[in-house]
Amino acid sequence: MKSFLRSALALSALFLLAGNAWAQLEANLGALEDENAKGYLTPLSSALASTLNSSIFTTANVGADVFSAHLQVNVMGVSFDDADRTYNPTDPVGFQSTESVDAPTVIGGTDAVIQSGENGTVLYHPGGFDLQNFTVASPQLEVSGFLGTRALVRWISIDLGDADLGSLELFGLGVQHSISQYMVAPPLDLAVGVFWQSFKIGDGLVDADALQVMAMGSKRFNVVEPYVGVGFDMFDMQSEYTDDTSGENIAVDFDPENNFHLTAGARLNLRFLQIHGEFNVAAETGVAAGLALGY
């Protein structure tokens, strides 16, 4: 029980503590030209693509005309592969390397890596934050009861406590519509949904858009409701920072993360409380859980 509470406190503190980490991330990027910044941040892009697109739809049971509303708190996490921990940097303007190195990505080892260049010159590549996992928490409001349709909203805005960095903002909107309401005695509930999200950190440090389309099936057995979903995720991310060397603003466009998304989970439907947990196979493999209050 104590360890559970400690973990809950750590989780709730994650966004608050993230302020200095995000500020340091911006400082780390300053030493990198755009291609290397892309290599450094790519695991973050994949992690955001997976976590933001998790725990959105957790049931296909959408009431046709019975009003219901739930306020849900989601925790979505992914674990990184070893291959995500390093990248091969390219030479920035002004530097000619004489060896190739494996430089840490944002989730890689904390030690900087030195790269030798011509005539005894050297270039340092910044260390990473040594992360095994990446976790995002978000509140979500769900309202249903109109023609078998459920509306979903995610929103959170946190001042990161750094005047230069600004805030972290997540905003999402979506709908889910019951398909099984059009069937005679369907063997399980079926629904399709679409959800769009915008995630921003600071003044352009991270600016991401996510879109998910998902078909879901679920069936209630008393209070337990297993569910499976098949969907498609689209994720775009840009990052802006100031290059330390040139003093110029650099804008990096990451390769879009477009991939199929498989989810399998179960939900406990208690009177005013729902708890769900799920596995996700998407840009990264991960898990998610949530707790909802409502009726």
Binding site: A10, A23, G94, E118, Y124, P126, F129, G277, V287
Partner: protein, 213 residues
């Protein structure tokens, strides 16, 4: 409470089996020391003008006036006492104000560098490029006869810059100069353009952050 914890525990065990990592849904925060790299630069500006086709110039600098090292690393969140090393990365150049003749070229350019009135060490030799249009920085090949010694000298100046910023006394003054000479073509008409050389440096220091385990 058991109903809440058991599904979470099941997910975590599943994730452990799948990825071999701890549970991402139960993060804990720990203090980590991260090595940060910071870049900085010193830009030297040159003006090429005249009807003579042999051109050149010298730009002098005080390194500690040009680069406020303590401020550079402070802006990146690093205390100057936590800086481990500072090193010379290389040279870049660009034309900022192009010659009126779009076909203008600067050729056979040699660049040398000296510390505190000492010997000029040739760091670049035989460089050539267009000067009839403005362009962004390009890498300058360290092809001079004294390139290795020049790099050592610049690194020595940077070591002294760090020493001074950390409260020590440099081994020699941080004054320096860069001299260039070259040939402008086509000949027989006025040359008038501005160009810059940028000396890039890389700094490594450490910061302590509260991060997920």
């Amino acid at each position: 409470m058991k109903k809440m914890i058991l599904p979470l525990a099941a997910l975590c065990v599943g994730n452990l089996l799948l990825s071999g990592s701890g549970c991402p849904l139960i993060p804990s925060i720990e203090e980590k020391t991260v090595e940060l790299a910071v870049g900085s630069s010193l830009t030297l500006e040159f003006h090429a003008e005249g009807t003579e086709n042999v051109l050149g110039g010298t730009d002098s600098f005080e390194l500690d006036d040009e680069i406020d090292l303590a401020q550079v690393v402070e802006d990146a969140g690093v205390d100057i006492s936590d800086v481990h090393d500072i090193a010379f990365v290389g040279l870049a150049y660009r034309v900022t104000n192009p010659d009126p003749n779009p076909n203008r070229r600067i050729e056979q350019v040699d660049i040398s560098i000296a510390r505190n009135g000492g010997a000029n060490l040739e760091i670049v030799s035989g460089f050539e490029d267009g000067a009839g249009s403005a362009y962004d920085f390009r890498t300058l090949d360290l092809s001079g006869a004294d390139a290795d010694a020049a790099v050592d000298m610049i690194n020595g100046m940077l070591d002294d810059l760090l020493l001074e910023a950390q409260g020590g006394t440099p081994q020699a003054p941080l004054a320096g100069s860069s001299t260039w000479s070259g040939v402008s073509s086509p000949t027989g008409e006025n040359t008038n353009f501005d160009w810059e050389i940028r000396l890039d440096i890389s700094i490594v220091g450490e910061v302590t952050l509260d991060l997920p385990e």
